[in-house]
Amino acid sequence: MSIHTKTAIEAIKRSPFQAVSAIFVLALTFFVATTVSILVYSSSKALSYFETRPQIISFLKSETGSDAITALQNKLALDARVKDVKYVPKEEALEIYKKATEDNPLLAELVSPSIFPASLEFSVTDLKLAEEVINEIKNEAIVEQVGFTANIGGEKSLSDVVSRLKTISYYLRVGGIVFVGALAITSFLVLLVIISMRMTSRKGEIEILSLIGATPAFIRSPIVLEGVFYSLIGVISGWTLSFIFWLYVSPSLLSYFGSIPVLPKEPLSFFLLFAAILGTEIVIGFTIAITGSLIAVKRSLKKAR
């Protein structure tokens, strides 16, 4: 173990309450940061889901022949604004209905395939084009009606859904950044105060070290290391707490949101998402620790001179 690591560990042991305060504030900051990151991820995933999934369903008139259907399907497939065109025949529509009503088989028995219209489902490459495409498809002779599969909170059109999600996503991002930013500043200031206190308590030692030829880097190394320890422990604690929280709530969330991928369903992707957040937080934590420690050391050494 290097002399600096040893000195830093001894300093932490000598003032455990200062260490606990710093770690607690940093852990809280990174717990909130991880949680907000996941919320932002979920909202953006939901937004992108509604923006890109095949939401437009054009129900076809019951007497439409297969040639006309194929012609419209090909026309849509060639349209650059349209993607993922899928033909859903009456039988498949009934199957979808049966699946959706499997809790109540009587409902399925009461209907026959003839009452379900065949449909052409597709999505658009850009949501801005949706209304334009919908208006065009409405004018097709074989199209009876056009609808959306997305409908939350009583919104009548796809743009209402997306605009609502965009608002939620925006407030989550802005609110999250402001909250996490305020906590990060608090952590930074707490570190600054604690390191300054440490410098004051080590004043005699610093004077001796300086007289026997210690470089400023030698003097500040254990202090910066101490800040890095606090930060690392704070990041890992905050992240772990948030990870456990999300691990606990994810089954309920995934089941509640159904096909909307608010969280990764694959365990590996779930862990990778959290690993990416941890990596980013470690970098931010180190930056806070190193900057805070260096500023505190610089100020204290300036005063000592």
């Binding site: 000598r14 001796i208 300086s210 007289l211 026997i212 030829g213 210690a214 470089t215 400023p216 030698f218």
Partner: protein, 217 residues
């Protein structure tokens, strides 16, 4: 090794040094003596570049100490071993660790530490005190720790500022014997003291200061 050329230093209206010129050669043992406030410590502080002269030059191995940049100061000090009247040991570290700090500061490879610490503690007679903390040592032993820390980096020059000032006569003699031994090994020693008994018992060069001036060299 050390040259003072017409050096003057004032602290406000107090003249600490006035036109001091002196030279200390390699391997010499020099006493700086004089009453309190004569300027002994200021001379040592100037060699350490803790204090800069108002005028004149202080040369260490031909280099003007005042012209050394702040970044170079640690490297200048690493060439000197310093012994203080108030010991200036680190009370939260053991005797061995206090000595190790000097090695760490001078960037000596860690695998050499044990051998060098053992050797120097044996030299100052503290081999059996290596694991003790300074609070468990006597004044004489603390001064030996300070001396061991100064010697372990194998410096060219030892600066001792009243190293016997806080010690009884017998302990002071022990410290003097050690400094003599170090000097015989070829190191230059500059020792500030107002302990007349020590100066009388020794045959080394004496520079006497009074009110910032040399009155005897």
């Amino acid at each position: 090794m050390i040259t003072f050329d017409n050096v003057t230093k004032s602290f406000g209206s107090i003249k600490a040094l006035e036109g001091i010129s002196l030279e200390v050669k390699n391997g010499e043992f020099v006493f700086l003596t004089g009453p309190s406030g004569a300027g002994k410590s200021t001379v040592l502080k100037m060699i350490l570049r803790e204090v800069l002269p108002d005028s004149g030059k202080v040369l260490f191995e031909g280099k003007n100490v005042a012209e050394i940049t702040t970044k170079e100061v640690p490297f200048l000090r690493q060439q000197m071993g310093i012994v203080f009247q108030d010991f200036k040991v680190l009370f939260e570290r053991t005797v061995a660790e206090n000595v190790e700090v000097a090695l760490a500061v001078s960037d000596v490879a860690q695998d050499e530490w044990e051998k060098r610490v053992k050797h120097v503690l044996k030299l100052v007679g503290l081999s059996n005190r290596a694991k003790l903390f300074p609070s468990q040592l006597s004044g004489g032993e603390l001064q030996r720790v300070s001396l061991a820390r100064a010697l372990v980096i194998n410096p060219k020059l030892i600066l001792a500022d009243e190293p016997t000032g806080n010690l009884d006569w017998k302990t002071a003699e022990g410290i003097m014997d050690l400094l003599e031994k170090i000097n015989k090994e070829g190191k230059t020693v500059i020792m500030a003291t107002h302990h007349e008994g020590i100066i009388k018992n020794s045959k080394h060069r004496v520079i006497e200061l009074k009110d910032g001036r040399i009155i005897e060299n």
